[in-house]
């Protein structure tokens, strides 16, 4: 029986991802840990959120008594109206994505491969799947960051040599941030750059399905 070691909470994963967002950039956040990223934008930095629901410059969620059915984000949550917002149709929303106008997208994943293949839309044992707009984000955003748990519910690796689930995009992921590590897919293989406090490189490798190349300047998870 392996001793249960503490992993980083979702909020810390989100905080680490927030450091990667360019000041003044256009960012699309997926559902799950990615949504939390907006809570941790560093002071003095500004990020403009793009939503497939047809809203640019999404602000905070609306209070319960101020909900407007004509003002939602991609997850169907109600938004506050903020100055500088813009509305657009789905055609324009996906032109922004596919046309390379969105700087960064942060997505969850079922699996990511060492070369940056992303699988996040279908678990074959569970119905037809929901592709949504993930495939367009993977193909079109300038940078794709994955934020997820390092392993699945049965502690199997989600970071793998080759995705076994149907992929969303090939070689599209530029950075993987998990509750154990920060990794970068490269043509040479998967580079381990940061490790969660209290964890060793060997322990992280033991829970990773792809061979890790240890970065020469590897460090502790940096917030």
């Amino acid at each position: 029986m392996v001793e249960e070691k503490e992993r980083l909470p979702r909020e810390v994963v989100a905080m680490r991802v927030a450091k990667e967002l360019p000041d003044g950039g256009f960012v699309n956040l997926g559902i799950g840990i990615p949504t939390l990223v907006s809570n941790f934008i560093p002071d003095g930095s500004v990020v403009f959120y793009h939503s497939e629901s047809g809203v640019l410059n999404c602000g905070p969620l609306a209070e319960e008594d101020e909900q407007d059915i004509d003002l939602i984000n991609a997850g169907g949550q109600f938004l506050q109206m903020v100055p500088g917002m813009a509305f657009f149709s789905t055609v324009d929303g996906f032109a922004m994505i596919r046309g390379g106008h969105v700087d960064v997208t942060v997505l969850g994943a079922h699996q990511v491969s060492a070369t940056g293949d992303l699988a996040n839309w279908m678990l074959p044992e569970r119905g037809v799947g929901n592709i949504g707009g993930a495939m367009d984000l993977a193909a079109g955003a300038k940078q794709v960051i994955v934020a997820m748990e390092h392993t699945d519910r049965s502690d199997g690796p989600k970071v793998v040599e080759e995705c076994s689930y149907p992929i969303t995009g090939k070689g599209c992921v530029s950075l993987i941030v998990t509750d154990l590590a920060v990794m970068q897919p490269t043509p040479e293989g998967l580079v381990l750059k940061e490790v969660a406090p209290g964890w060793t490189v060997e322990e992280v490798q033991g829970l990773t399905g792809a061979k890790l190349i240890i970065s020469p300047d590897i460090k502790e998870y940096e917030l």
Binding site: G54, D68, I72, G76, V91, R98, I131, G132
Partner: protein
């Protein structure tokens, strides 16, 4: 004599939808949906329908207004669904059950591909090369070509018999504007259908809307019904 676009009831506006029709249903996460037109379609009872839409009701969030795609499926009116998110991610309900029982065909199309196929259909474009499906199962059977900016896959245009859309304000010529995020799929669906039916929160006389502000020009809107 100008054929008026105003219809007295949602039922009248969808009464001629034949069995076997393909229908575009605008909406996003259950908002911006022409609920009264969908409700009328349940009453009219047209069968063997193909429905093209963004997503099923989001029962998890509890916000999806009824009636919905799911009601039409339950009512035995639907033979095929084309959608990037055919049913609620939290669990499929009737739609999933009918699909598993083989009573319903479901075609998953990535969202940005679906929207461009409709745009191509509406704009008279023979096909579009998109990078979206490259290297995925959605590429299967399609032509791939290499362009200076990278690889792309041929996607064919999609058109429909009807579009059911929700608009904030329409004038009696069909010129329409939307409210916030409820615009979503309506403009492109209005272009891609032979007959577009708009459920309007408000109907005004020509001249009351600023021509600069029109999102869907009346040429794309054939029928108008008051939402209230």
């Amino acid at each position: 004599m100008l054929q008026g676009k105003l219809y007295g009831s949602p039922q009248a506006a969808v009464a001629d939808i034949q069995d076997g029709s393909t229908i575009l249903v605008a909406g996003f996460a259950g908002y911006g949906v022409a609920e009264r037109l969908l409700s009328a379609l349940l009453e009219v009872g047209s069968k063997d329908l193909t429905l093209i839409y963004r997503d099923g009701p989001y029962s998890e969030i509890g916000s999806g207004p009824l009636p919905s795609i799911e009601n039409l499926v339950s009512n035995g009116q639907v033979s095929k669904l084309i959608s990037p998110i055919p049913y609620s991610p939290g669990g499929g309900g009737t739609i999933e059950e009918c699909w598993q029982a083989g009573q319903l065909e479901i075609e998953i199309v990535p969202q940005g591909i679906l929207v461009e196929r409709l745009r191509a259909g509406g704009a008279g474009i023979g096909g579009v090369f998109l990078p979206t499906a490259v290297g995925t199962r959605f590429e299967s059977g399609r032509e791939r070509r290499t362009f200076p900016q990278g690889e792309a896959v041929l996607e064919l245009p999609l058109k429909a018999d009807y579009a059911l859309i929700k608009v904030a304000v329409a004038d009696t010529l069909g010129n329409s504007i939307y409210d916030g995020s409820s615009r979503n799929w309506a403009p492109v669906m209005a272009m891609a259908a032979r007959i577009t039916v708009a459920e309007a929160e408000r109907i005004v006389e020509p001249g009351e809307l600023d021509p600069e502000a029109i999102i869907s020009p009346g040429i794309f809107v054939n029928r108008i019904v008051a939402a209230a």
